[in-house]
Structure formats: C-alpha cells, structure tokens
Amino acid sequence: MPVHRLVTGVSSLSLTLAGLLLITFGLSRLSPVDPALQLLGDHASADSYAEMRRTLGLDAPWPVQFGRYAQRLAHGDLGTSLSTGERVSDDLRRVFPATIELATLALSVSTLVGVPLALLAAWRPRGTLDAAVRALTLAGNSVPIYWLGLLALYLFYAHWRLVGGPGRLDDAFEYTIEMRTGSVLLDTWRSGVPGAFADAVSHLILPVLILGAYALGNVTRLSRAALLNESGKEYVMLARAKGATDVRVLLGHILPNAAGIIVTVVALAYANLLEGAVLIETVFARPGLGRYLTTALFAADTPAILGGTLVIGVSFILINGVTDLIVNLLDPRTGA
C-alpha cells in the first residue's frame, strides 16, 4: 500500500507540475513582449531580428517550443536566462535562498506575534482588546507594503539612522564576502569577518518586520476566526460548566482543536511570502525570487519565468505536504 500511495503521489505531483508549466508557457506566449526585440533592441536590422527569432526557436509553433523545453527539462536542464545570460538553475540557486531567508524570518515574526494576538482577541471577543487587534490587523492588510517600506526606510534608516538601509550588506562587506549559500546570515556567519553578521542583521530588520507585518494581518484574523469558531462548541461549554478558567479553556481546549487550521493559515502565509516579497525586495534592493520573476516577466524571459514558476510550484506542493503531515499529527481524524 505505501508503494501504491507513493506512486500515486509522485504521479499527481508530476501532473500538477506539468500542467503548471504548460499554462505558464502558454501565458508567456500570449505576452505582448517580444523576446527577440527585447534582446536586440528597437534599432536592430530585420536580418538580425529574424536570426534572433530562429536562435530562440520562436519560429516554431508553440507546442513544438514547449515540447523542446519539456525534453530539456527531463534531462534536468532549465535552460539559460535571456536576461541574465546565466543558467536558470544557477540564477535560482542564487536568489531563492535569499527569499527563503527573508520569508522564513518574516513568517516567524508574524506567527510569534500573530497567534498570541489572535488568542488575546479570542479571550474576550468583541472587547476592547479584540477591537484593537482587529484594527491593527486591518491596518496591516490595508497599508500598501511598498509605501510602508519606503516610510520605514525614511524614518529608521534615513532620518534616525538606526538600521542598515537598502541592500543586504554595507559596501565594505558586500563584495568581499563570498555568498556560497545565498543566505546572507549563513554566509556572513561562516565568513568570520568581524561585524559582517551584525551588519547583515541590521539590513534585515526592516524588510523582515515589514514583511512580517504584512503577513501578520492574515495570520491573526484567520487564527482568531478559527479560535472563535471553536469557542462556541459544546465541549467548550462543558469545560466552562465544569469550572475551567478562561485561560485553561482557551489554551487547553480551544487552541489544540484550532491548531490544525492555524498551521494551515501559517503555511499558506509562508507560501505567499515566498513569491510575494517582490515589492519589499525592490524597495530594499535585495535579490530574491519575486524580483527575479518580475524582471523576467518584463523581459519575456521564458526560461527564467518557467524555472521560477517551477520552484514556486514545488514549494507550494512541499509546504502543503508538510502542512498535511503536521495537521494529521495534531488531529489524527484528518488523515482518515
């Protein structure tokens, strides 16, 4: 049976990814941006233009183009990016760890703050604290993250000079430390260069807090809703009738039963952060998958778009799988 489940799982995964790639490829072909013109510029001669289209394989029907891509992919070749000139796999190896680092730290902030806030709100529903938490989360969701990033940079970096500014490191460190893993914290730590790790932390504070605040809204509101949904059930009334304190009811009865939903909410927030950090990456001039994909989209860089989409697709599937596993452990009924 486990073999059967494994085969089913792998087949389902492959089909999902193939469908994702096919749709992305089709959409990229509908894009009004002409990759040949993007590479050659507007002044290129008709001969150069025609030759570039041939070189890129754009003269073939798009199903043929997709077939060629799929064939290369089956050999583990994601192709070469048209806009960076490097292998897409190398590009992704460089930018994805930076995004994972930023998203993981931001998610930690939003979870460590968001879940306690949801508990506080659920403790006295419709009370002053609940209203304050709801107002805070609404603000977190309503304020454009781009604007918030610029405002934070202006205040904490430019005006008060409390934290590092745009970029991952000060220039004194940036191009002397080898970025082996792509994670600035790991790389500066391993480098042993005095001050480099602290500098990396200083540059991470603002983007992490702002991205965390952005995810905080959803984590708090959805966790609060899950907690409140549980609080009206009979087993809670029974616990209260037996004389359990509010804190005990909340932490001992409601929270464990809402934990599955909260884990799912946090997992969804994580998946969104992995692809959705583009504005923060732009404002804070940090490399990352979101910015890589956006630049590729504007350049009609199909190999980079497909490679980035594949990574995001696999990440979503992995996160969903791990989430299912955790939820199953927390509540064995969901595995039935």
Binding site: L37, S83, I205, A285
Partner: protein
C-alpha cells in the same frame, strides 16, 4: 560564534547605527542595472552595458569627453588615408596594453571588429553601415606590420563617417589572447565576455552579479591614465525612491535616473549637488501614415496642425520640471549640424484653422500608444488636453515599452510617443532613421511612419557620403528643416540628464550620447 551571536543580538535590540558612508577610495553608484543583457561589447546594446564599455574598453578613436564633436586617437596613435579608396591606415599606440598585461597588436583590432560582425548581435547594424558583413569583413581588415592596421569599407561613405562608426561602443577593442583562452564551442569568447572584461579601459570588471551589482577595479596600466579611485561599485537599485534615500544618507556617492520630484527634493541640500548634463535623447510624436484605419494620419495638414497643438513649454518647464528642453529637430543640440530653430508653439486657433481648411474638424480621433511609465503618462495627458481644444480626441493606450516598439515596428499603431537615442556620434545615426526610407524592407523610423520620401532619402544618402564637413552640416540642416516643416514626426523635446552626487564627489562627467559616462576622473 558566541561573540558573533551576542553582537547580532545587540544589533537587533539596540539597533546599531548604520555607518552611512561609502568606503574611502571607492565610488558607489546607485542606478538600475536590470537592463543589462550582456557586457560583451559585440553584443551589449543596453544603456547600462554601453555605459560600462566606456569605463572598461577603449576604441581606436573616441569622442573627446570635453568636446564630443572632435574624435581623438585613443588606442590609435594616428591615422592616414589608406592606399586604396575608402580605407584608413591606423598606427597603434606603442605603449598600449590591456588590463591583462598583453600588448596591443593589430591582431587585436582585427579580431575585435571581425568577431563583432560575425557574432551578428544587437549592435552589429552600426558596423554594417560600412558595408561589413560576415562574408567580407576578413578582406576589410589588414595587418600591415606590427604597429599598423588598414581598415577599408565598401559603403559609399566618407572617412569622417567611418571614424564615427569606429568610435561606437561596439567597435571596442578586446584582448584577443585573453578572450581566445575562454572560447567555448566556437562562441568567440561571448559566453565569458558577457560577465568579464578583456579591455584596456581605466577599469576592469572584478565581478558582475546580474540584477545585483557591477564591481569594477582600477586598471592602472590603462593607456592614457589610471583612474583616481581604486574601485567603482554600481549597485542595482531598481526603485528611484530608494536611490534617493541612499544618496541622501551617504551610503552611495552618486544616484542616477532619479525622477524630477526626487531631484527637486534634493536640490539645495548642502551635502548634495545636482549635476546636469545635456543628453542627445529627443522625444517625438510618430504618426503612422500607413495606417489604413485612420486615413487622416497621412494628411500633411494634420501633421502641421499637430505641431501647433503641443504645449512644448508647459511640458518641458512646468510638467517635467526642467528634465527636458524644447527642441524641434531630430539632431540633438550639441551634434554637428543640429538645427536649433524652434518655430512651433501652442497655438490652438492656428491649428483649428489648418484643420478646418483640410476638412479635418469633424471629430477626429487618434489612438496614441505610450510607455506605461513616467514621464510618458504625463506627456500623453498634456497632448490629450491640448488636442481636445482643437476637437481632436486622443485615446491614450499605455503599454510596456517593448509592446509599443513591437507595434510601431509592425506599423500597427496610429500614433506613438517615442524617444530616440543616437547609436554613434554622427548625424547619420539619426538622419538615417528619420529621413531615409529606401522601401527595401529596412524598417527605419520613416518606414515605420509610412512616409514615402524618395528624394529626401537620396539627400540623406548623399549627406553621409559627403567628405567636406561644412557641406555635410549644411546638408543635414536642410534635411532637418524638411522633416521639421512637414513629416509624420513632431519632434518636441530634448532630454537632460540629472545626476545627484554627494558634495565631496568631483570629476564626474557625462556626454551627450548614451555611452558617454566617465568615471575615470572622479575623486572624493
């Protein structure tokens, strides 16, 4: 480990003050580098790429940074007319060497120019102007001895024009010995040169990380002189507001490509200086006379009326706060032969009368394609407002720049607001776009505008072949006047480049053409 962790905690809890100063002896520049596709001079044609070539490579001749109308010998020591018509003989500088230490040889010149033609990438059309093609380039380049190389061409152009082409970034001379060691699968070193350098310019590439940064080190052996600073870091900061903050705080020394509002906000700050340079970029309205859906677009009366329906002063002065000046001819002010007359201004009554006379006053509609980024939206809205005063409804169609270019190239737009940047420092670069339509399938701007001009095309071809500089300038003045008075192009503005630098930065220079960005004399 523990000490580092404690340090990090300090940073988190106490928030260490940022240093807010770029390292000494290092110039840090913030700009967008997202456009770079290749740093190989035979391939790169993007703004950031060609600007880098000026720092990293040298050509046989280059425009004098102080006076770009004059070409000065750079890797060539001198040149003389060749023994055959349409040829020049160059004496190479005896002291010239590449950053690798290899001495400059005629073989390097021949290798560089022939590989650029044979690779056939984006900027090759500039070298094609000399009649050079993959099949004939080897015959055009001849080593005479250890110090001389003969360069000949088949096109009917004079030596002044040939020199201008040889001063283009794509004619940069690369170190054949170095490049050949990195050749793979017959790519003439292209794969390696995309990210590395093999030139003799004042800097050499230490590291290029796509979409992140370009780090250049000084090349002390550069013929001419070594740069004042040891390192130049160009950081990719895609967001203009972030670039502004960086230069304001002092983490970068120079911020480029800021918007007019950002420059205005920094103007007058004691620790900063706003540097202004003229630019050869001209902005114009293109009407597609070949568009069958809107036959009014081929009516010269409409072309004339629209010349009186643009608020030139309002756009240049008030709307875009001095980033442009009014200029109504295709050669930018500063180019040899530029026509600086500005006979047109906003005159709605005159435009209405012209339209009425041509029977075009019955609710004419025009679709205008524009780039979906600043300042094009503002310009389009100004046109919409002034055109409406004469009863013309302008429908604005914003789109990605590449989409607009694609449609203009296919002649599927009605009208578009575009800009033009010369590819090399010669009038023909621009004249052959606006005033040449051979109707042989070459998609010049005149072709894209559906403008049939056999006589003017002959005049443009005659001008590029003219060898007397004064006569040539007169010819270009006449061609510009013809385009200015009646053509489907309404040329309106010439751009200015604004750069914000820290007060201590000195020696930064920028020329008219896109590649003319000079960091070698910068100190701080």
């Amino acid at each position: 480990m523990t000490r580092q962790f404690a340090f990090a905690l300090c940073a988190l809890c106490v928030c260490l003050p940022s240093r807010a100063a770029s390292p000494p002896n290092v110039l840090v520049v913030a700009q967008s580098l997202d456009d770079i596709i290749s740093l190989d001079p035979a391939e790169g044609f993007e703004l950031s790429s060609v600007q880098t070539f000026t720092s990293v490579y040298q050509r046989l001749v280059q425009p004098d940074p102080e006076n770009p109308k004059v070409l000065v010998p750079t890797l060539a020591a001198s040149w003389t007319p060749g023994p055959v018509p349409r040829s020049l003989v160059f004496w190479l500088r005896e002291d010239a060497a590449f950053a690798s230490g290899h001495k400059l040889r005629p073989e390097d010149v021949i290798f560089s120019l022939s590989r650029a033609v044979k690779l056939n990438r984006a900027p090759v059309f500039i070298l094609n102007e000399l009649g050079w093609r993959a099949e004939n380039i080897d015959r055009a380049l001849l080593k005479l001895d250890a110090h001389r190389v003969q360069i000949s061409w088949s096109s009917n152009v004079g030596p002044a024009f040939a020199l201008a082409v040889l001063s283009a970034p794509t004619a940069s001379i690369v170190d054949e010995t170095e490049v050949s060691t990195h050749e793979a699968n017959g790519d003439a070193g292209n794969g390696w040169l995309k990210f590395h350098s093999a030139g003799s310019g004042p800097f050499k590439i230490r590291r290029y990380i796509a979409h992140e940064a370009l780090v250049l080190d000084a090349n002390p052996s550069s013929p001419g002189h070594a740069p004042l600073l040891s390192t130049l870091i160009i950081r990719n900061v895609a967001d203009a507001a972030t670039r502004r903050l960086l230069v304001e705080v002092g983490d970068v020394d120079i911020a480029r490509d800021l918007g007019p509002d950002q420059v205005a906000a920094l103007q007058g700050k004691r620790e900063l200086q706003v540097l202004r340079f003229p630019s050869a970029t001209v902005h114009y309205l293109l009407l597609n006379a070949a568009n069958a859906d809107n036959p009014a677009l081929k009516n010269p009366a409409l072309w004339e009326a629209l010349r009186w329906l643009i608020d030139y002063q309002g756009i240049a002065g008030r709307l875009l706060k001095g980033e442009f000046e009014v200029h109504q001819a295709f050669l930018a002010d500063g180019f040899p032969g530029a026509l600086n007359a500005t006979p047109y201004h906003l005159d709605v009554a005159k435009a209405k009368s012209i339209l009425a006379g041509a029977g075009l006053d019955q609710g004419l509609r025009i679709k205008l394609s524009v780039f979906n980024q600043p300042p094009y939206g503002d310009i389009a809205q100004s046109l919409q407002s002034t055109f409406a005063q004469a009863g013309i409804t302008l429908e604005i169609l914003p789109a990605l720049a590449s989409e607009v270019y694609s449609k203009v190239r296919d002649r599927s737009v009605e009208a578009a607001w575009l800009y033009w940047v010369p590819d090399y420092f010669d009038a023909n670069s621009t004249a052959s776009a606006f005033a040449l339509n051979r109707e042989d399938g070459t998609r010049t701007l005149a072709w894209r505008a559906g403008w049939r001009i056999p006589q003017l095309s002959r005049e443009t071809e005659a001008a590029v072949a003219e060898q007397d500089p004064s006569a040539r300038e007169r010819q270009y003045l006449a061609i510009q006047t013809a385009v200015q008075q009646s053509s489907p192009f309404v040329i309106a503005l010439q751009a200015r480049a604004e750069v914000v630098a820290r007060a201590g930065v000195h020696g930064y220079a920028q020329g008219l053409d896109a590649d003319m960005v000079y960091y070698d004399k910068v100190g701080k």
